[in-house]
């Protein structure tokens, strides 16, 4: 009896690159993701390759993350950050009286950051995308793209706007990875009928949704979320298995809450005296997370009462949890086989990639151990959704329902009093782009120098404004000022470029400034926003 398991990781960050500042706090999100998630994940894949372990993990790479990984400035800054953290470990060891356990942890982090620096700089030559591609070619990864800048697709103004976002994601992926992806991560799994047609038009074969998307399809899903639904447009939609997923992502019930694992919220950036830490944090003396965390979760105790972290104990727990996870999936598959009418279950376990490493430090070790453990069980097949479709080509046909993978499985995170007011502006901006692209196509804008350039930048700025990250931040109340500044800034550029285009007075200096500042969507084509034959059904939510 077979059980199929697809582990799907979604890798995304908003496009954050601030050449105007030597040190920018929000850029830290990228560096943390690199040294906590993506580099350790690649190292795990390298080890699996070296040991000949079979099994495939699926990874979506969003366009902003791809562009950031490929950017020379951010590469340099990422290396500098790795060195800064290595040096912080040294400085901590050297200062004053520290318990032996703290000194051992300083040694651990110094070695860790030095190894990551050497791996990134010497072995990868700063090019993580090529190593991801290598593992895709070697069969250990199925790489997917993501919808453009990660917008809530059903909230966009038009199918043309949705198509532009889909094409932007595919084009950025193809430009940097060198092949066309066959799967796509729909940002926030935000689906509405009609989006499937737009995806199929671009040759997309599969996508993932929240379980509710499958369970509220236009026909009852006879296999629940244990098989995909193939929409009439020709896209297979895989619903997240809640049981398997919650075992990993749930901070309360899942593995990451184990007391031996590293505590996320306690960090040397806040613990050390300012005279020690100041050279390694923001030059204005703003404390922030450094990635040097010396404590374990310990239990339900205050941050100040946490015990010291023991990496080797945590690594052992990760392997134990991986074994538990694999056996739980085997048991789940056996139980489902009969309920599904003697049909193998397919379990879709989808997660934010940053859960593994950034939020759950031991996550990459866990994933590696899952693949190693699964290789001992012939019943369990770690596959990509495409592998599964090749094995089980007969599937139910239905169109999934409106849903997201956010809280309560609908749109409450992104349509809330804290952020609902942004959509008029985003849709008005999209309408502006659509109108000007149409005018340009019909020759109504004349032959103004740099017109195409300005239109492309207007499209790029619209895409950047539409990222769901800004609404998410407004809802969660974290870095709201930054989110508003970014989104309003992109919209203001759409407005300004639109005025320049309409008047024929194009400011070339502005174009040069934007091109230098936003090295993303180099293959952007304004024809993406051209209205085409309307889809059979509207995709608006």
């Amino acid at each position: 009896m077979k059980t199929f398991l697809s582990v799907v990781l979604h890798a995304h960050l908003p496009f954050i690159r601030h050449p105007e500042h030597a040190y920018h706090l929000e850029e830290m999100w990228f560096y943390e993701a690199m040294h906590e998630t993506y580099l350790p994940l690649l190292q795990a894949l390298d080890r699996l390759e070296a040991d000949g372990i079979e099994g495939r993990v699926t990874l979506s790479l969003s366009a902003p993350l791809i562009a950031m990984m490929a950017d020379g400035l951010l590469r340099e800054r990422c290396v500098a950050q790795l060195e800064r953290m290595r040096d912080l470990a040294r400085a901590d060891r050297a200062h004053g009286e520290r318990p032996e356990r703290a000194r051992a942890l300083a040694d651990y982090y110094e070695a860790r950051f030095e190894a990551l620096r050497a791996y990134y700089l010497d072995e990868l030559d700063g090019d993580v995308l090529s190593r991801f591609k290598h593992h895709a070619e070697g069969g250990r990864l199925e790489l997917m793209t993501c919808v453009g800048t990660h917008p809530i697709l059903p909230f966009l103004e038009s199918d043309a706007g949705r198509r532009a976002q889909i094409r932007a994601g595919i084009a950025e992926f193809e430009q940097h990875l060198g092949f066309r992806p066959r799967g796509i991560w729909i940002a926030e799994c935000a689906f509405a009928p009609g989006i499937d047609r737009l995806l199929a038009d671009e040759g997309i074969a599969f996508a993932c949704l929240e379980d509710v998307g499958i369970l509220t399809a236009d026909a009852a899903p006879v296999y629940g979320t244990y098989s995909p639904l193939v929409s009439p447009a020709g896209v297979a939609f895989f619903g997240r298995d809640q049981l398997a997923s919650a075992q990993v992502w749930s901070a309360s019930e899942g593995y990451p809450g184990d007391y031996d694992y590293r505590e996320f919220y306690r960090d040397l950036g806040y613990d050390l005296p300012m005279e020690v830490v100041s050279p390694y944090i923001h030059p204005d003396g703003i404390r922030h997370h450094t990635g040097l965390k010396y404590h374990r979760i310990t239990g339900d105790v205050d941050l100040g009462d946490k015990d010291f972290y023991q990496p080797e104990v945590a690594a052992r727990r990760a392997r134990e949890h991986a074994s538990h996870f694999v056996h739980a999936r085997l048991g789940q598959g056996r139980d489902l086989f009969e309920k599904l009418g003697e049909r193998p279950a397919h379990l879709t376990c989808s997660y934010d990639a940053e859960l593994f490493g950034h939020w759950w430090f031991e996550g990459p070790l866990f994933l590696e151990a899952v693949l190693r453990e699964a290789s001992h069980h012939q019943e369990l097949h770690l596959v990509s959704p495409l592998d599964y479709l090749a094995e089980e080509p007969v599937q139910q046909q239905a169109t999934p329902g409106i849903s997201t993978w956010g809280e309560a499985s609908y749109f409450g995170v992104w349509l809330d009093p804290s952020n609902a007011w942004i959509y008029r502006h985003l849709r008005n901006a999209e309408a502006r782009v659509l109108r000007l692209v149409e005018k340009a196509e019909e020759g109504e804008l004349g032959s103004v120098p740099n017109l195409g350039r300005a239109l492309r930048l207007m499209g790029q700025q619209l895409l950047l404004a539409q990222a769901s990250d800004w609404a998410f931040i407004m809802k969660t109340g974290t870095t709201v000022a930054y989110a508003k500044e970014r989104q309003a800034g992109h919209l203001a550029y759409v407005e300004r470029l639109g005025e320049m285009i309409a008047s024929g007075a194009i400011d070339v200096e502005l174009l040069e400034e934007l091109e230098a500042r936003y090295p993303i969507f180099g293959a952007l084509d304004v024809a993406w926003w051209r209205e085409e034959a309307p889809s059979a059904r509207s995709a608006s939510g």
Binding site: F155, G203, V222, Q242, L340, G341, G401, G541
Partner: protein, 176 residues
Amino acid sequence: MGSEQQPYEGYGMSQRGETQLVLLWRDPEVGYVYWELTGEVRPREAWARLVRLEAGDGVEELERWRVDEALSGRFVRADQGRARYRAELGEVGSDGSFKVRASSEVSEAPGRGPGDGAPRFVRVMLSKTQGLSWEPTEHSHPTLGRFLPGVGQRPSSTAFVGDQKTRGDDHRKGDA
């Protein structure tokens, strides 16, 4: 969430310059309506309402509110998932009738459960460049219950309802 009107906030973009009403869905029970008005559709006494479209040409008015131009959006309540709704802008006659001056596109609210479509199966074929294609297949698949969205903790949302009658006409795995 109760009905709540929101103030207009400037945000880098100018208004569209044409009247518009837009209805977006937060979930099966709550939608969000926003509006922008221009001169020709700016009645002195402007009202808006949310209606559910019924069979034929009928509409059921669910909510009506006075449009204050200082405000620009409002969360509204739906009474049926999967039903079709529309937001309308207009004037109220002395007899209480609603004269529509502008309306949103018709929009279907999300559902809480599956639709009533019949199960059908396809055989998919993978292409390197064209995504998926499929062809119909005769296929009968018995299951011992139904998978439905549940309530409570997330893992129960794929609740297997085992006390349902066996689905399918027989217990063979038929894949013709």
